[in-house]
C-alpha cells in the first residue's frame, strides 16, 4: 500500500495486525515513540489527514492512501513550528520522550482554539512523568522563561537545554532510535508461578521454528551470581541473581529467552517452549516471611558469599541500634505519639521503557546501546559475569527517556550481551509497558512504626522507629534503601534517645529497587506524620515544632551511633529560610474553597532532609578539550535523562571560559568517552560530575591565562592580554581533566506545605495551595531547578494520592497506564517553588543537588493537611478517594 509521511510517499506492506506506530518506525520515523502501546500515554501521537491519533492503536492498513504527519513534519531544528518554538522557550520537557506527542497534540486546531482551562481535558491522553506539566502548560500558553544559549557565561541563567530544538522536532535519538542492519529481537518467556523450580525445559519445538536463531535457558548462562542493582561498590548489593535461574522466585521472572528475526517470531517461539514446573510454596506477606517455617526465598544461598544478612529468616539486611534509653524517655515524656504507617509499591513509569541494542563492532568487540543511568557500572558487572576483558566491551547511552532510579539496574543488557555473543547478530531487547510493571523493580513498600516522646514544650525526647521493607524476590538495592531510608529522615531531629530496628525481607513479590528518594520518603511519611501529631498535642504550629527540634550547624549528624564516622557536613544550612518561605507562602490565599456544605479545609507541612550525594563514594572523571574554533568539547560519563545535567555542565564550562553555552559540545555516558562516572543516580549529576567539570574548566582557564602571560583575563570574545584581545581558540589544542570523588557531602532541606479541601461524601482531595521552600544552594539554572522541584512534587502527588502497583498472590494486577494512574495534567496543581538564598561550600559554584529531595516531604505534608481537614489521620499510601472516604465512613 502507499501513503504519505510528512509529504513524502511511502510504499509499505504492513503485516496483518500491525499498528501504525511500528509501521512508521520501521520506515525510519523514529520520532514516533513507544510509551505504552495501549493508547494511554500519547507518546506515539501523529496526525492522519490532519486528525490527531495515537498511532499505537491505529491498524496500519487503514492509512492506505492517507497522509500522516509526525512531529518531524511540523518543523525542523532550524525552522521550528510556532508550537515547537514555545516548547523550547518554556522548557516544556525534561527527558523529552513524551514531547513528540505533546507537540503533535498541541498543534491541532482543537487545542489551538481551546481555552486554557480546557487543556487538562484535552491532554488527558498525553502523559509526562518528568515535568509536573507546569512548563508544558506554559508552552501551550506561550509563556517562556528560558534564555538563548548564545551569550557568554551561564551560571544562574535559565539557559535552554542543548538538545531542546532536537527534542521538540523529534530529531533527538533515544536508545532505539537508530538503524541497525540485520537486527534480531529477543523475547522472554516469563514464569507463570511466583515460586517454582524448572524440572525440565524443552526448547526443541521453538528452535525448529523458521527465523528462530537461539533459545537461552538456565543451562546456557554463566553460574555467576550478581545483583541487578548497581552501585559504585558492588558489595553493597547481595549476589543473589543469575541471568537465567532454574529456580523462579516471582511471577514474571525470566524462564528462557528466544532470539529471532522478528519480535513476533520470538514471542511465538516462547509460547512453543515446553516447561515442566514444580510449583513451590511462596510467601507474600513481609511479616510472615521472617516467621519460623516461612518458605525461604534464598534459602539455597551462602549468607557470607552472597552477602545476605539472614537467608534462614528471609532477611536481606537489618539494622538495630539504640542511643540513650528510649523506654525511660518515653516513660517520662509529657506527650507520646505512636502509629504504624504503610506505603505502596510504586512504578517509576519512565516513558521510555528499558531497552538495549547490542552488536559486535568491526573489531569483534561487544557494543551495548542501552537505556541506563549507570553505563559504567553495567560495563564493570557484565565484564565480571561474562568474563570479558574491559576493552572487549563498550556500553553507552543515547539520551535516556526518564529514569527515577529504575535504570540503576542491569535488566536488559545481560541477555542482549549473551545473545549477541551466541548468535553473532545484532540483538534488541525492549521492555513492553507491561514488563515495566512486572519485571522492572518497584519502589520498596514499607511498614514503619514510629513512637515519639516530647516535653510539654514540644522538645523531642525519644524516637522509636521500626521499619519493615519488602524487597521482593531479589535484593537489588534492598540493603541500600533500608539503610539510607532510615538515615537522614531520622538524623534531621535532635533527640537524645533513639532506637531503630529496621529489616528488609525477601518475599515472592516482584523485586523492589531504587526509587527517587531511595527509601527516605517512606520513613518520612511516617515520621513527619508523627511529628505533626506531636505539634497538635503540644499545641504549637508544625513549623515551630521543626524549628525547636531540627539539627543545626554544630549538632552531630547521626541516627543511633554516637561514634559513627561520617563525611556529612553542613555545607550550607538553609532549613530556617526554607521553613520561613513555606510558612509565609502558605498564609497567602490560593484556589478558592469549592462551594457546597461537604468540603472541609486543612493545612499541613513536612520537612525533608537529604545528603547532597550518595554515601561511600561516587566518582567522576571528565576530559575537557579546547578546540581551535574557540569552543570546548567535554567528555563526561554521566547520562542525560531529563535531569538537565548536560545544560548545567555547559553552563559551568561557559562561565569559566567566558564563552557561550552553545560553544560547549558535550559527549556523555559512553565507556569509550570519559574515563569514568559512577552514574546518574543519587542526584550526583551536578554535585559530582558537575564538580569534576568545574575542576577541568578551572584548570583549563588557569592554563590559558598562564599561556597568555601576566595580567591576562578571560572575557566574552577571547583572552584580554597586554597586547590586546586574543581569540580563545588560539590557545588550542589544550586538554584538561577533572575528577570528583563524592566526599565530603552536604545536606539539603525541602519544606513542603499544602492547603487542601476534602469532600466528606466522596473522599475527593483538592489541592488549593502547594508551596515548597527549597534549600538548593546556588541556583545554577532557575528554570531547570524549578522543573526538578515541580516534577518531583508531581511524582510525589502521584504516590500520595493515586499510585499503587497492586499485587495479588505475587501477580501484578496493574499492568497498564489505564490501570495504574500516573498524574495527568488535571491532577497536578501549580506549586510555588521558593528558593532559599543559601550557598553550599561543597558543590560547584555553591550549588546543591536537587533531584530526589523535592519528592520526599510531599506525601506527609499532604497527609497532614488531610488530617487537619477531616480530623482523622491517614496512615496508608496512596490516600486514594476510596481510602479517605472509608476514614470518614468507618
Amino acid at each position: 500500500m502507499r501513503f504519505e509521511v510528512n509529504g513524502e510517499p511511502v510504499e509499505a506492506a504492513p503485516f496483518p495486525g500491525q499498528c501504525l506506530r511500528t509501521l512508521l518506525r520501521e520506515t525510519g520515523r523514529t520520532e514516533v515513540k513507544k510509551g505504552c502501546d495501549a493508547g494511554d500515554c500519547g507518546a506515539c501521537g501523529v496526525l492522519v489527514d490532519g486528525e490527531p491519533v495515537h498511532s499505537c492503536i491505529v491498524p496500519a492498513h487503514r492509512v492506505a492512501g492517507r497522509s500522516v504527519t509526525t512531529v518531524a513534519g511540523l518543523g525542523t531544528p532550524e525552522h521550528l513550528s510556532p508550537v515547537q518554538q514555545r516548547f523550547v522557550e518554556a522548557a516544556g520537557f525534561q527527558c523529552g520522550f513524551c514531547t513528540a506527542g505533546m507537540v503533535v497534540t498541541a498543534s491541532t486546531t482543537t487545542v489551538q482554539e481551546a481555552d486554557e482551562a480546557d487543556l487538562p481535558r484535552l491532554f488527558k491522553g498525553n502523559l509526562c512523568r518528568c515535568t509536573g506539566y507546569r512548563s508544558i502548560r506554559d508552552a501551550l500558553a506561550g509563556r517562556g522563561a528560558t534564555e538563548e544559549r548564545g551569550v557568554a557565561g551561564g551560571i544562574g541563567r535559565a539557559v535552554r537545554a542543548p538538545a531542546a530544538e532536537r527534542v521538540v522536532t523529534g530529531r533527538e535519538a533515544y536508545t532505539l532510535d537508530t538503524a541497525t542492519t540485520a537486527l534480531t529481537h529477543l523475547a522472554v518467556l516469563k514464569s507463570p508461578h511466583a515460586a517454582a523450580r524448572i524440572r525440565r525445559i524443552d526448547a526443541g519445538a521453538a528452535l525448529a521454528m523458521p527465523g528462530v536463531l537461539a533459545v537461552l535457558t538456565h543451562e546456557d548462562v554463566p553460574q555467576v551470581l550478581f545483583s541487578t542493582g548497581r552501585h559504585q561498590n558492588r558489595l553493597e548489593d547481595p549476589d543473589d541473581t543469575l541471568i537465567l535461574d532454574p529456580v523462579l522466585r516471582f511471577a514474571g521472572q525470566r524462564v528462557a529467552a528466544v532470539v529471532a528475526e522478528t519480535i513476533g517470531l520470538a514471542e511465538a517461539a516462547c509460547r512453543a517452549i515446553a516447561v515442566d514446573f514444580e510449583v513451590l510454596p511462596a510467601v507474600f506477606d513481609p511479616e510472615a516471611a521472617r516467621r519460623p517455617g516461612a518458605p525461604l526465598v534464598h534459602g539455597d544461598k551462602d549468607a557470607a558469599a552472597s552477602r545476605i544478612s539472614e537467608p534462614t529468616r528471609n532477611v536481606v539486611a537489618q539494622k538495630h541500634g539504640e542511643l540513650g534509653s528510649v523506654d525511660a524517655a518515653l516513660e517520662e515524656a509529657d506527650v507520646v505519639v505512636s502509629g504504624s504507617w504503610r506505603t505502596a509499591r510504586v512504578a517509576h513509569a519512565s516513558l521510555e521503557t528499558h531497552a538495549t541494542r547490542g552488536w559486535l563492532d568491526a573489531d569483534g568487540r561487544l557494543v551495548l546501546r542501552t537505556s541506563s543511568q549507570v553505563p559504567y557500572l553495567v560495563h564493570a558487572e557484565l565484564c565480571r559475569i561474562l568474563g570479558l576483558e574491559p576493552d572487549r566491551l563498550r556500553v553507552f547511552t543515547a539520551r535516556v527517556g526518564g529514569g527515577f532510579g529504575g535504570k540503576q539496574e542491569l535488566l536488559t543488557e545481560d541477555l542482549v550481551a549473551l545473545a549477541v555473543l551466541r548468535t553473532g547478530r545484532p540483538v534488541q531487547y525492549e521492555f513492553t509497558r507491561e514488563d515495566e510493571f512486572t519485571n522492572a523493580p518497584l519502589r520498596h513498600p514499607k511498614r514503619v512504626e514510629v513512637t515519639l516522646g516530647a516535653t510539654a514544650d514540644g522538645v523531642l525526647t525519644a524516637m522509636d522507629v521500626d521499619v519493615l521493607a519488602d524487597t521482593g524476590s531479589y535484593g537489588n538495592h534492598g540493603p541500600g534503601v533500608l539503610f539510607h531510608g532510615s538515615h537522614e529522615s531520622l538524623a534531621l531531629y535532635r533527640t537524645p534517645n533513639r532506637r531503630v530496628d529496621a529489616e528488609s525481607v525477601y518475599t515472592n513479590n516482584p523485586p523492589s529497587g531504587a526509587f527517587r528518594g531511595y527509601g527516605l520518603g517512606q520513613v518520612m511519611f511516617a515520621l513527619e506524620s508523627a511529628m505533626d501529631e506531636v505539634a497538635r498535642r503540644v499545641g504549637i504550629s508544625p513549623f515551630e515544632l521543626r524549628r525547636r527540634n531540627a539539627i543545626r550547624p554544630g549538632d552531630p549528624i547521626l541516627v543511633t551511633d554516637a561514634d559513627e564516622e561520617t563525611d556529612l557536613q553542613y555545607g550550607g544550612y538553609g532549613l530556617p529560610e526554607a521553613l520561613d518561605l513555606a510558612e509565609a507562602a502558605l498564609a497567602e490565599p490560593g484556589e478558592p474553597v469549592p462551594t457546597g456544605p461537604d468540603w472541609r479545609v486543612g493545612e499541613g507541612m513536612a520537612v525533608g532532609m537529604i545528603a547532597t550525594m550518595p554515601p561511600r563514594g561516587h566518582f567522576s572523571e571528565v576530559r575537557l578539550t579546547l578546540d581551535a574554533d574557540g569552543g570546548a568539547s567535554l567528555d563526561v560519563g554521566t547520562a542525560e535523562f531529563g535531569n538537565g545535567t548536560t545544560t548545567v555542565h555547559a553552563q559551568i564550562v561557559a562561565e569559566l571560559l567566558a564563552i557561550a553555552p552553545d560553544r560547549v559540545r558535550i559527549r556523555s555516558s559512553d565507556t569509550d568517552g570519559a574515563r569514568y562516572d559512577t552514574g546518574a543516580f543519587g542526584s550526583a549529576g551536578t554535585v559530582v560530575a558537575g564538580k569534576a567539570v568545574h575542576l577541568a574548566a578551572l584548570t583549563m582557564r588557569d592554563r590559558v591565562l598562564a599561556a597568555a602571560g601576566p595580567g591576562a583575563a578571560l572575557e566574552a570574545g577571547g583572552v584580554r592580554t597586554v597586547t590586546g584581545l586574543r581569540p580563545l581558540g588560539g590557545f588550542a589544542p589544550l586538554e584538561t581533566t577533572g575528577s570528583a570523588d563524592g566526599t565530603p557531602r552536604g545536606l539539603a532541606f525541602n519544606v513542603h506545605a499544602f492547603r487542601v479541601a476534602v469532600h466528606t461524601g466522596t473522599g475527593e482531595v483538592r489541592i488549593l495551595k502547594s508551596v515548597q521552600g527549597v534549600d538548593a544552594g546556588t541556583v545554577l539554572n532557575p528554570e531547570q531547578l524549578r522543573g526538578q522541584v515541580e516534577g518531583g512534587t508531581a511524582q510525589a502527588i502521584g504516590s500520595a494520592l493515586y499510585e499503587e502497583v497492586q499485587v495479588v498472590d505475587g501477580h501484578v494486577v496493574t499492568r497498564t497506564f489505564r490501570n495504574y494512574h500516573i498524574p495527568q495534567m488535571a491532577d497536578v496543581p501549580t506549586t510555588e517553588v521558593l528558593f532559599a538564598g543559601t550557598y553550599d561550600d561543597l558543590g560547584p559554584f555553591g550549588a546543591k543537588s536537587m533531584s530526589e529531595a523535592p519528592y520526599n516531604p510531599v506525601a506527609p505534608a499532604l497527609a497532614n493537611a488531610i488530617r487537619d481537614a477531616i480530623g482523622v489521620r491517614p496512615f496508608e499510601l496512596p490516600m486514594s478517594r476510596d481510602r479517605i472516604w472509608r476514614l470518614l465512613h468507618p
Binding site: 490527531p52 522478528t262 519480535i263
Partner: protein, 285 residues
C-alpha cells in the same frame, strides 16, 4: 534494516476488508469484527487469527428514523456521535456528550473509537453502555444466518467482557426511540482522580410521563437499571441503590466506596431532575 520491536497483534494471519455483508461469513471465535481497534490493539490478543474491518462497509454514521428516533451505526466514531446536531425533540442529546466525555481516553481516541466497539468490548466503564442503558437503546445484531436480532444494551452486557454476542454476530447499529430522546436527563460520574477511569457512572432520564430510569455502570459488573413510575423518594432511591449486588473492587475503586458514592450521586440526580419538574417540556423549547 530493523528498527524496532513491535507490540502489534502478531498472531493474526489476515485482516479482511469486507465490501458487503456476505464477506462477514469469515467471522468465528478467532476471527472477530474490528471496529475502531482502540481497545483490540491496546492489549495482547494472542487467541485471535484474524480481524474483519467493519469500517470498510461504509455504513452511514447515524440516521434519523422515520419515527423520529435515532439509529447510530456500530462504526460511528465517538467524534461523529458527539457531533450529532441538536434537535428540539431530542432533549437527551447532552447525555451523549457527557457519556463520551466519561471515556477514559482523550479526544484523539474519539477519532478512531467506535460506538459498536465500545459496547461490544463490554468493559464495566464502557461509556456508551451507560448511555444505552439509561435511554433503553436497542442493539440491532446481525446473526451469521443472515438474519438479525434485537436486544437492549443493558441486557446485551452480561458481565465484565461478557456479552450475549455469539461467534459470527456483528452489532450493526444502536437505536434510540423518540420517547427516550425526548426525556430530560442527568449524569454523574466519579473516579479516583479528576479525569481518571470511572469508578461509577450514573446516567438517568425522566420521560414526559414522569417515569424515571437510572443506569449505573462503571462500578458494577453489569449495567444496573433502576426504574420508578415517577421520581422516587430519597429513601426509595437509596434502597434501590442498596439492593444492587454487583459492586466490585479493582484498581479504579473499592466496592464499598463505589456503592457509597453512587448513593450520593443518585440523590444528586434525583434532586436535579426534581428541580426540572413543571418546567416547560423539552420539545416546545
Amino acid at each position: 534494516m530493523g528498527w524496532d520491536g513491535a507490540m502489534d497483534l502478531p498472531t493474526l494471519t489476515e485482516v479482511r476488508l469486507p465490501a458487503s455483508r456476505a464477506d462477514l461469513a469469515a467471522l468465528s471465535s478467532s476471527v472477530i469484527p474490528l471496529g475502531g481497534g482502540t481497545w483490540l490493539f491496546s492489549e495482547p490478543q494472542d487467541h485471535l487469527t484474524g480481524l474483519v474491518d467493519l469500517t470498510t462497509l461504509g455504513w452511514t454514521p447515524w440516521e434519523v428514523r422515520p419515527d423520529g428516533g435515532l439509529s447510530v451505526a456500530a462504526t460511528c466514531t465517538m467524534a461523529q456521535l458527539v457531533a450529532i446536531p441538536a434537535r428540539d425533540d431530542w432533549c437527551a442529546l447532552p447525555l451523549f456528550r457527557q457519556c463520551a466525555e466519561s471515556l477514559l481516553q482523550s479526544f484523539k481516541i474519539w477519532n478512531t473509537a467506535t460506538v459498536g466497539g465500545n459496547i461490544a468490548t463490554a468493559l464495566a466503564a464502557g461509556a456508551l453502555i451507560g448511555l444505552g442503558g439509561a435511554l433503553d437503546a436497542e442493539l440491532v445484531i446481525w446473526t451469521p444466518d443472515g438474519g438479525e436480532r434485537r436486544q437492549r444494551v443493558a441486557d446485551f452486557v452480561l458481565a465484565q467482557r461478557v456479552t450475549t454476542a455469539r461467534p459470527g454476530e456483528v452489532i450493526r447499529s444502536i437505536e434510540f426511540a423518540p420517547e427516550a430522546l425526548a426525556a430530560t436527563t442527568a449524569f454523574r460520574r466519579i473516579a479516583l482522580s479528576p479525569l481518571g477511569r470511572a469508578g461509577t457512572v450514573l446516567a438517568a432520564r425522566r420521560d414526559r410521563d414522569g417515569s424515571f430510569v437510572l443506569c449505573v455502570t462503571g462500578g458494577t459488573t453489569r449495567p444496573e437499571v433502576i426504574r420508578f413510575p415517577d421520581l422516587p423518594a430519597p429513601a426509595e432511591l437509596a434502597a434501590a441503590i442498596g439492593a444492587i449486588g454487583t459492586w466490585f473492587t479493582d484498581p479504579h475503586g473499592a466496592a464499598d466506596w463505589r456503592e457509597g458514592v453512587s448513593a450520593l450521586l443518585a440523590e444528586e440526580i434525583r434532586q436535579e431532575l426534581a428541580q426540572q419538574e413543571g418546567s416547560t417540556p423539552c420539545g416546545s423549547r
